[in-house]
């Protein structure tokens, strides 16, 4: 069961996912979806790390992926907590309604 996928394709996929994530962050108005998009970006970069690790035969790529996983978990938990707070205070998850820190 050994199908070899070239590293370039995987990195391309990672770049695609990352771009999708960015577009998601920019165009979505709901904070939950924005957070989701950020997760996609994180995972895209994790994928790039894994691909790079397998390409060079180094363990560092997988180490970094584990690190990213841990960080993403932490980030999601804090992010969701903040979102909950925002929803409590503003009764809205629309990012455009939350423009308070301008100027």
């Amino acid at each position: 069961m050994k199908t070899s996928v070239s590293a370039e394709v995987v990195v391309l996929l990672a770049g695609l996912l990352f771009a999708l994530g960015i577009v998601g962050v920019i165009i979505r108005k709901n904070i939950v979806f924005m957070l989701l998009s950020v997760e996609i970006m994180l995972n895209a970069s994790g994928l790039a790390f894994v691909a790079a690790g397998s390409r060079w035969g180094q363990p560092d790529g997988q180490v970094m992926f584990v690190f990213i996983l841990a960080m993403a978990a932490a980030e999601v938990s804090i992010g969701l907590a903040l979102i909950l707070q925002i929803y409590h205070q503003h009764k809205s998850l629309d990012i455009d309604n939350l423009k308070e820190m301008n100027g």
Binding site: I26, K29, L98, K99, N102, G103
Partner: protein, 631 residues
Amino acid sequence: MLMDKYLWLIPALPLGGFFILALIGKNMSRTWVATVGAGSICLSALVTFVVGGAFLSGMPENTVYTQTLWTWFEVGEFSAKITLSLDVLSLVFVFVITFIGALIHIYSTAFMEADRDYARFFASMNLFVFSMLVLVLADNLLLMYLGWEGVGLCSYLLIGFWYEQPTNGNAARKAFTVTRIGDAAMAIGLFMVFQQAGTLVVSDIGANASVIWQPNSATVTITALLLLAGGLGKSAQLPLQTWLPDAMAGPSPVSALIHAATMVTAGVYLVARMHTIFALSETARLVVAIIGAATLLLAGLTALTQYDIKRVLAYSTISQIGYMFLALGVGAWTAAVFHFMIHAFFKALLFLAAGAIIESLHHEHNMFKMGGLKDKMPVVFWTFLAGAISLAAVPLISAGFYSKDQILWYSWSADGGSPVLWAVALAGALITATYTTRMMILTFWGESHTHIGHLPGKRMTVPLVVLAVFSVFAGFIELPHNFGHFTLFSDFLHPVLPETAMQENIPSEWLFQLLAALATLGGIFLGYYYYYQQPARIASLRQNGLLVRLYRFWFSGWAFDALYDRMLVRPFVFIARINKSDITDKLYTGISGMTGEMYKLLSRTQSGSLRWYIMGLVVGAILILGIQIML
């Protein structure tokens, strides 16, 4: 006996008087104020007589009393000492200042009796006499400048003596500012003198002048003209004459002392004192003569039109000083100083007498509202008459004739003289006689228009009488060459001032005297005819539109005030006013304003929209990556 160690007393006494009156004058009784105020000047006059007598008796010629009090300041090669020096020229001035000054102070003790600021008046007057004495006794130009500015200050204080009237304050300010223009030029003149001569000591400059300067070189001409500018300001000559008529806002004794007898002749003193420089520049002397001639004519014609008695006298003063400048310009140094002395006597007298009249008529200055005072104020009338004949230069019997005749004669025949200058001076003589007669007739003849208050007392009339005697008889110390050839005064001055160089082939002096006498008599007749015999003629002259406009033009002092107002004062005030909030500050408020604008611009990007932020982030990242790939 050598009296030079007492020289310092002459200016010190008035200074002491000033300090006493300024510090504790408020708490002194009027008698004490008068005693200190007038007493200090009388004592100073007494010291002058004693020191002057010692100076004159038994001294070899060319002696100068000098007394160094202390070194004022000394920097590098520059040194200025507080040194007094008395020679014959300064003796004449010191005599006039202290003697006439003492008489005027005595007169003032009565004249100012009712004024609430009695002490301030005498303090200022004493300070003035002190400054004036320093001016004429100074042995170097810097000390002279101290006196020069000091008299300007006192003139300011005394013109604005009744300060609650805004016009008086403005007149005082005008006097100070206009003379200051001349003073600034004179200061530059001092710098030039120092740069070229390396000293400001008058006698050193005089001794080495011909070594220091090339005759008729541009430098000596410029130096002389800069010094002259100072003299023009103080002596109210063209083009700086406009302040003197307004200066009549001061009390009459002030006009008599400062604006007739002493301070306004400081310019004459300066030119005479620095004659060694002026002698080296023909151009400068020509300028002096032309300015003198132009001023005497212009001021004389203006005096014809005035109705305020003090303004007539003021313009007449300008005109008479014009004669002195004319004499200086043609090189008749002694004649100028002679006319200065005689003029001091009769003009002080005229101002004091006018002051007595004005006082008695409840501060009425308008001659047309006087009249008929001949019998009501006999003492004033006779003394005024004595002054008037001297001013008009009535032949033979007045002192003014001898001094003015001498100037007329020299203005043609002296080295720098010319027929044109003489003709102007002669016309001036005619005009002088006319306005003097007009003034006499309007004031003393005809019907009286104003009720007369109290008559002047002894303290006022005695100085008048003394001055009247001098106005009539003082001329006999210097008689023309063709009769008597009695030259006491000019001989007296010759140690300091050189003989007047004469032209060759000049017409007989008799002819000039005859013409001068005719001019005077003609002027008197004109005044008599139009103002006494045929007053209706004046009214018919008023019908002529051209004459009326000329009259108005003369009356305004040849529109100099309006000219200066348009040319200098208004632009200055305009510029000052529009720039009140300081245009250079705009530079800095501009910088701070720009910072503010930038802040507003940039803060617009901080919209709070998270999605824009991310957009910016991404675009930035792409840009950086792109640039990196491209390079």
